[in-house]
């Protein structure tokens, strides 16, 4: 059944309806605010009941696809199952109704939880400390680069350049810019890897850091990572590891042993906190010992007597990056997820890599694979074969929706023209993967036999193809009374 259209909540509004449920005012209604600073009723605000709200948001929800509807193959986004226990834990009153400025003696549960997840992430990264401050991956990148900058300032010169491979996420260059650095892009070689001679030539005394994603956005692990780290360190730079793809090797390989000095992790990827239609995220950053003094404040610490505290007085810190301490509610979920897997967390990466390689093996005869290097948790095809018939990756994406699947990540990484980036994660079994593979194969056949069909897709979604160009040209960003 195609879900029906739903008006805006403002269009459902009728004068005299009321959905609020408040006790009577028990104190005098004396408000000592001058009339000049007060406003009247907000014209246009809603007048609806709980029934309206229940219907409205349930109907709207049916116009979305989530991970429980089926595989969500968005490459680089690690759309895995979200365990429901974790949602309940985050809502325990001791967590959800805890105030960030409650006296420390009365917040020991929160502080111990922070300390526990820091220790777990330190164990998994092989790096001694982890700042929990960043609100998302990109925020973590900024924290990481600012710490590098501070360490270099302490050595006498913050330097000017950050090196970034051309396969990187767009957040990397944006982050480097906001930390005051100029970006220099490094070209990948024919195997989709970083070329060591290119790196050696670029790695001067002006380079603060190399930011690299491990494995890279093609899913390829840089097998010469140790040499890469040596080249960077040899010139006094730092190696920044973008941990967006940590799901590929967590529990199996160790960023500390790779020579990585800083690595942010996306708790909403590897550690399964829900994506929520676009946040909240959380982006803790693991750091080498040299960088630990520069972590943003506050930092969770354990006292000699086994209690915990937040430390604010850290003279070398890069400073504050946000209000309050951390994305606490996301830490609750992520720690529960880590403890669910415990020392066997590597099995998660193993199944994620097997699943991606199975898709690669089953689709490579119908979709072009630009790089033949072994890949881990994701696989990047392109639309080259289909483009001969005038069918592009965007059309394949839209048609896949008619088969009930959200599309893979399209047109990224930028080094693959017409990229189709697929990441199944470990939370799909063979049956679910086969359903996706069959849909992709059927679309490849349609592209051969009836390319016009794809140009008009999707047909069975709540709305047909959406005109995004018109949206940007004639900006309508709100309803008006």
């Amino acid at each position: 059944m195609k879900p029906r259209r739903e008006p805006l909540i403002f269009e459902r509004s009728r004068p005299g309806k009321n959905g609020a449920s408040l006790p009577p005012l028990e104190v005098p209604e004396t408000i000592a605010i001058p009339e000049a600073l007060r406003r009247g009723p907000i014209e246009g605000e809603t007048e609806v009941t709980e029934v309206d709200v229940a219907r409205h948001f349930t109907r709207l929800s049916r116009r979305n696809l989530g991970i429980d509807d089926g595989m969500y193959p968005l490459g680089s986004c690690t759309m895995k199952h979200n365990p429901r226990l974790n949602e309940e834990l985050a809502r325990l009153p001791g967590f959800a109704a805890a105030h960030p400025y409650a006296p420390e003696a009365l917040a020991q549960g929160s502080l111990e939880l922070m300390w526990r997840i820091e220790r777990a992430l330190a164990e998994l990264t092989g790096l001694p400390r982890v700042t929990l401050a960043p609100a998302a991956g990109a925020h973590g990148e900024l924290a990481g680069i600012l710490m590098i900058r501070k360490a270099l300032e302490k050595r006498g010169n913050p330097r000017k350049v950050v090196l970034i491979p051309d396969s990187a996420h767009g957040t990397n260059p944006a982050t480097a810019h906001f930390a005051g650095y100029r970006v220099q892009e490094l070209k990948s070689n024919a195997n989709g890897r970083l070329d060591l001679s290119v790196l050696e030539a670029a790695m001067t005394q002006e380079v603060a850091a190399l930011m690299m994603t491990v494995p890279n956005t093609l899913g390829i692990f840089e097998r010469r990572i140790v040499e890469i780290a040596k080249i960077v360190h040899g010139k006094g730079g730092f190696l920044y590891g973008d941990g967006a793809n940590f799901n590929a090797f967590v529990g199996i390989a160790n960023p500390g042993l790779m020579g990585i000095d800083v690595m942010h992790m996306n708790l909403h990827k590897t550690f399964s906190t829900p994506h929520g239609g676009g946040g909240p995220g959380a982006g803790p950053v693991a750091v080498a010992a040299e960088l630990a003094p520069y972590m943003p404040v506050p930092v969770d610490e354990r006292n000699g007597d086994g209690t915990f505290r937040l430390e604010y007085d850290r003279p070398d810190s890069v400073g504050r990056l946000r209000s309050f301490a951390t994305q606490f509610g996301m830490l609750v979920r992520a720690l529960a997820f880590i403890l669910s897997h415990g020392e066997e967390i590597g099995d998660m990466a193993r199944d994620a890599v097997l699943n991606a390689n199975y898709i690669r093996a089953r689709l490579r005869d119908v979709y072009h694979l630009k790089y033949d290097s072994p890949t881990l948790h994701e696989v990047v095809f392109s639309d080259r074969k289909q483009a001969e018939k005038g069918v592009h990756n965007g059309d394949i994406a839209k048609r896949l929706m008619d088969y009930g699947f959200p599309p893979p990540t399209m047109s990224f990484p930028l080094i693959v023209a017409g990229a189709i980036m697929i990441e199944p994660t470990e939370t799909e079994d063979k049956g679910e993967l086969d359903a996706f593979i069959e849909a992709m194969r059927a679309i490849a056949r349609e592209a051969e036999e009836n390319p016009g069909l794809l140009a008009g897709a999707p047909y069975d979604t709540p709305v047909r193809r959406v005109d995004e160009v018109a949206a940007a040209k004639n900006l309508i960003l709100r309803w008006k009374p």
């Binding site: 408040l22 408000i31 609806v48 105030h99 020991q108 829900p274």
Partner: protein, 441 residues
């Protein structure tokens, strides 16, 4: 319990299709020296029962707003979240969906963002709002960076000293490497200090210490100097009652909207917001949901103006942020829609009336005083006899979280604390607060 749905047979079948004999063969590119030396020291996988037990014990070591009379604020307030606002978040279509980059399968999320943008525009009196930002402090940073794009080639941001100290500290961190300067001043000094080098003037109301300010102070300073006027709101519950920044000539409103439907959660996830005038909408950072049509001409929604964002513009992007607070904005949209025109105002009135009652009572309590002179909304400063931390500790013994000591941020203000009241505080609680306080002096 691990979340691995494949059976051993399925793994064997998949390995055969790939053409390798074990999963470890797929990690051929991962060199031996970087392999983890053994299993991580994380213990055996725990069951649901064990995890529930452990987390229950941790949660029980926190003092929470359900087991204490709660008067803490300072940028994080204990407001009621109606049952439906939270229960709706459990629906997998909301909870587990990705960022709505593919509009045809994301109309629910996109329409909800569009509605929330409308609510925020109405509340702030601005023309448009974005899809949310991380939290209040980074929202102010983004507003200031936006101002520096609107008024180019100026270096100075003039910031009200009464802005939340953690917001100010965050601005200093971001500005440190961007060749931008922060000048802090009292609200009355803004107009005098604004000059041709100033790109932004920012004022917070209610201020961090509780006083309600006239947004006109920022508007006039900005007008005089050609700068962008920014209104900062750390307690969004004040917006239904107080004249909003948009009505008094400000260009941008930003801050923290967590009070409108999102629990405290020891500080975050929270809900940053940013709204502005029509003229500046193309300079807004972050995601935006826009209205358009589909191929059949039906109304549809999609993310728009993404050419400003990092995945397209890379180092030239307006911001490095890659996410909003989608689920929090949904909760807030549900909250705002449900309470609506009359409920929001009634809630704000309960907060203000409760604060007036408690403030008057504390002013009458021997040994205590309320130093602020201006009008307040739901929070105020209290002068304590002796260190405020000690007062708070002793009140906590009586199951009352009495306030937030200012010493956390201001070493020279050890004998002051902030006290906040919301619709959650009953008169009985406030009377208990007053008699407990009286017994301490």
């Amino acid at each position: 319990m691990k979340f691995l749905p494949s059976s051993p047979d399925e793994r064997r079948e998949m390995l055969a299709a790939v053409g390798v004999s074990s999963i470890d063969d797929l990690f051929v590119d991962v060199p031996a020296p970087v392999r983890a030396p053994g299993k991580p020291a994380l213990g055996r996988p725990l069951s649901e029962i064990e995890i529930r037990r452990l987390f229950g014990e941790l949660a029980a070591r926190n003092a929470d707003a359900r087991s204490y009379a709660h008067f803490l604020g300072a940028g994080c307030y204990h407001h009621y979240v109606p049952a439906i606002a939270d229960q709706m978040l459990y629906r997998e279509e909301w909870l587990t969906a990705y960022t709505p980059y593919q509009p045809e399968i994301s109309q629910g999320t996109l329409q909800s963002i569009f509605e929330w943008q409308t609510h925020i525009a109405l509340l702030t009196g601005m023309d448009v709002a974005n899809a949310s930002l991380y939290e209040g402090a980074t929202a102010l940073v983004e507003a200031l960076l936006m101002a520096s794009r609107i008024v180019k080639n100026r270096r100075k941001a003039l910031l009200d000293r009464n802005i939340h100290p953690e917001y100010l500290a965050t601005v200093r961190t971001y500005f440190h490497n961007l060749d931008l300067e922060v000048i802090e001043a009292g609200p009355e000094e803004l107009e005098g200090l604004a000059d041709a080098g100033t790109f932004a003037v920012a004022l917070q109301s209610p201020g961090f210490f509780g006083e309600v300010r006239d947004w006109g102070l920022a508007a006039r300073a900005a007008q005089k100097s050609g700068a962008v006027a920014i209104g900062v709101v750390a307690e969004a519950m004040s917006l239904p009652l107080l004249k909003p920044p948009g009505e008094l000539g400000l260009d941008i409103a930003c801050g923290e909207a967590r009070s409108l439907g999102v629990p405290m959660s020891y500080g975050a996830p929270a809900l940053g917001f940013l709204a502005c005038r029509d003229a500046h909408k193309r300079q807004m950072p972050g995601r935006l949901a826009g209205q358009t049509v589909d191929a059949e001409g039906n109304r549809a929604f999609c993310l728009t103006l993404s050419t400003r964002e990092q995945h397209i513009r890379r180092e030239k992007a307006t911001s490095n942020i890659c996410t909003n607070q989608g689920l929090m904005a949904l909760a807030s949209n549900i909250y705002l829609s449900l309470l609506g025109k009359s409920g929001l105002r009634a809630t704000a009135i309960q907060c203000a009336a409760g604060a007036a009652y408690l403030r008057e009572g504390i002013a009458r309590t021997k040994g205590f005083s309320v130093p602020g002179r201006g009008p307040v909304f739901n929070e105020f400063c209290v002068k304590t006899p002796g260190p405020a931390e000690e007062i708070v500790r002793r009140m906590a013994e009586r199951k009352i979280l009495a306030g937030v000591p200012l010493a956390r941020w201001f070493a020279d203000r050890r004998e002051e604390m902030l006290v906040a009241v919301t619709e959650m505080n009953t008169r009985e609680e406030m009377d208990r607060y007053l008699s407990a306080l009286g017994s301490l002096a």
